[in-house]
């Protein structure tokens, strides 16, 4: 099989993984080497579905001994199978990188023979890149659930980020759709990576030459819409992953119907809006100080189709509004729909110089269309409608069709035009 056909097959098999982030590492180029990972994330192009390509996202092989119901590469599927030889892949990566097609490698794989055997092959390819080609760019490795601790450790010293996809948050879901995987096989290595990151960091305090271990941190992915879990339970699971596993990122992937299988739901369309709501909730937890059970609760266990989770929260807590822009704390400014991290920071800075007027707000990046119903400026409430749920809700939804929102509200991928980029390389988004 020629190389370009392999590239197509193994790229297609990897494309449902959503992460493409290439930021947050500190690996720098060495003399005579190629590549540098110590920068904010860079997107190199965007596919026809508007997702960024930053890393060469590819499988080492799409042959797999497992039969996960949702996965395009599962054993039962009749499709062309291919595999890279380690040197073949390393050579491709270095040549793509030298042409600035990519920011690095995102290597994943189907499971051949055993988890350990697969991990060994992946490590071989990465070692080839790092040691023979002297490649110092970004590498994200998808660890294989069930791989032995020794291999996870060896891999962690070579790569920038490692991830293990959780995919399904409940035991029942996992048993139903991925019967070959166990929760233990996922949690085990995840915990090991978390502990190693902490331990290697400690070592580095005393020994400067100690190796980095997964310097860009660990991430995972959850599938949205393949099993009947509530949004609340998934947001809670995500919160636990951030807290308990120190994850840098949790990615959410709208379930795409690729296989015919009676265990799978039949959805008329890919739940993109729901996926987007998860990213908004994720941002609220990571940068806005929200807890999972503030975003959703037992009475409202699912996201509102029409309102983003922050606006929905604000409408449930109208007793806290309106907030005075010239007096509110940073934390309370962040709770106002239409005010983000950047605009809240700017308000605080400008406030030191003078009091803020209504006409300043737009310049400071506040989205007045939403924010005006939730704030006062110098004691004046300028929205001109009573602070009542129904009224504000109607106002917020004016001239906003659903399809419109689906187009526009996507997660900023891999730091592209995000604050990390504009903050001169400070990695706000990891």
């Amino acid at each position: 099989m020629d190389l370009s056909e392999k590239l197509r097959i193994l790229g297609e098999g990897a494309k449902y993984d959503v992460s493409c982030s290439s930021s947050g590492s500190r690996r720098t180029n060495k003399p005579g080497g190629t590549g540098d990972a110590a920068s904010s994330g860079i997107c190199h192009t965007f596919t026809s579905d508007g997702r960024c390509i930053s890393l060469l996202k590819i499988l080492l092989t799409n042959t797999c001994i497992y039969d996960c119901a949702y996965c395009v590469n599962r054993r039962a599927n009749d499709l062309p199978r291919a595999a890279f030889a380690p040197e073949e892949l390393a050579n491709l990566v270095i040549n793509f990188y030298r042409r600035n097609y990519i920011e690095g490698l995102f290597l994943s794989s189907g499971v051949v023979i055993s988890p350990d055997h697969t991990m060994e092959l992946m490590i071989k390819a990465i070692r080839q890149l790092r040691e023979v080609h002297n490649f110092n760019g970004y590498i994200h490795l998808k660890a294989i659930p069930g791989a032995s601790p020794g291999l996870v450790d060896a891999a962690g010293r070579l790569v920038d980020r490692m991830s293990i996809n959780m995919e399904l948050t409940s035991d029942a879901g996992l048993k139903l759709l991925a019967p070959d995987k166990t929760r233990r096989g996922i949690i085990g290595p995840m915990t090991q990576i978390k502990d190693s990151i902490i331990n290697y960091k400690k070592e580095k305090i005393y020994i400067k030459s100690a190796p980095d271990f997964v310097p860009a941190g660990q991430s995972t992915q959850l599938i949205i819409g393949a099993t009947p879990e509530t949004d609340l339970s998934i947001v809670k699971a995500s919160e636990n992953l951030y807290r308990g596993m120190n994850l840098k990122r949790v990615y959410y992937s709208a379930y795409v119907h690729v296989n015919q299988d009676s265990r799978l739901p039949v959805l008329n369309e890919t739940p993109l809006l729901r996926e987007n709501r998860f990213y908004q909730a994720d941002w609220l937890m990571r940068f806005y100080g929200f807890k999972a059970d503030e975003i959703l609760d037992e009475n409202t266990p699912f996201f509102d189709n029409n309102l983003d989770p922050k606006a929905a929260w604000a409408l449930r807590h109208l007793d806290l509004f309106p907030v005075e822009v010239n007096a509110a704390s940073y934390e309370n400014l962040l709770r106002i729909p239409g005010i983000g991290v950047k605009s809240a920071q700017r308000i605080i800075k400008v406030r030191k110089l003078k009091s803020i007027r209504v006409e300043d707000l737009k310049k400071l990046g506040v989205v007045l269309k939403r924010a005006r119903y939730f704030l006062t400026v110098g004691g004046v409430y300028a929205a001109g409608v009573p602070v009542k749920d129904k009224i504000i809700r109607t106002k917020l939804l004016e001239k906003k069709s659903l399809s419109d929102m689906q187009l526009k509200l996507f997660e900023p991928q891999a730091g592209f035009l995000t604050k990390e980029a504009l903050n001169g390389g400070k990695n706000l988004f990891l």
């Binding site: 190389l3 002297n134 990046g365 980029a421």
Partner: protein
Amino acid sequence: MAEKIYFYDGTWQGIMSVYHGIIGGELEAGVMAKEKGENMQDDLFSEKIFVEAGEDKFTALKDRFIKAAGCDNYSMMLWAFLSEKRGIEGHILDFIRFALKNGKGSGNLLSEDEVMRVYSAAQQVRRECHRFKGFIRFEEIKPGMFYSGIEPDYNIIMLLAPHFKQRLSSQDWIIHDKKRNTAVFYDGSKCLYREVISFEMPDDSKEENEYKAMWLKYFQAMGIKERKNPHLQRQFVPVKYRKNMIEFDETGF
């Protein structure tokens, strides 16, 4: 009295020398324009003065500014200058005066016009520069020598050079701004910024064509048809940039 027009050589050092004169009181207030720029007015009633770029004047103002207002505000001005927007020289002068008075936090005071004008121009330049760190495509035109031709809205190749010098340090490369006829050349140790008189693209080698074809194939394979969204793709990769990116054809798709 006739209005003064100060001409400078088009460089940052040049305009800083004009600012030095105006702020120090040696020059009266006036408008500023590039020597070879399009805003060279044929205005009989104004007095035209050419101000020579001076290393001393430049350094004096630079040091004074950085001491009073910090490096971040200084690079913000430089980025804004590289936007080459009409009238940006005057806006930067206003900002220098504002920042000398208000200190290091000046750049955050976006409610003030003096800050906002320079900030927004700088932001556009910074954004385009960040985009091009990803969108640049090199091709190997001779063994070990890589070329990229781009047509950015703003004058960003000098800002791009350090980024590529860091990561592609073991190959020679050229980034050619085809719009401005300038280029940065990297020879394995240092970057040179030069004007380009003419450039002829050699034919691609067989190997080069193979990499291009593989990249295109990979790019096309990565789209998920259930999620197709050309509108979103256009937001992220505006059509104007696509003609220099090999994964898009001449029509931009």
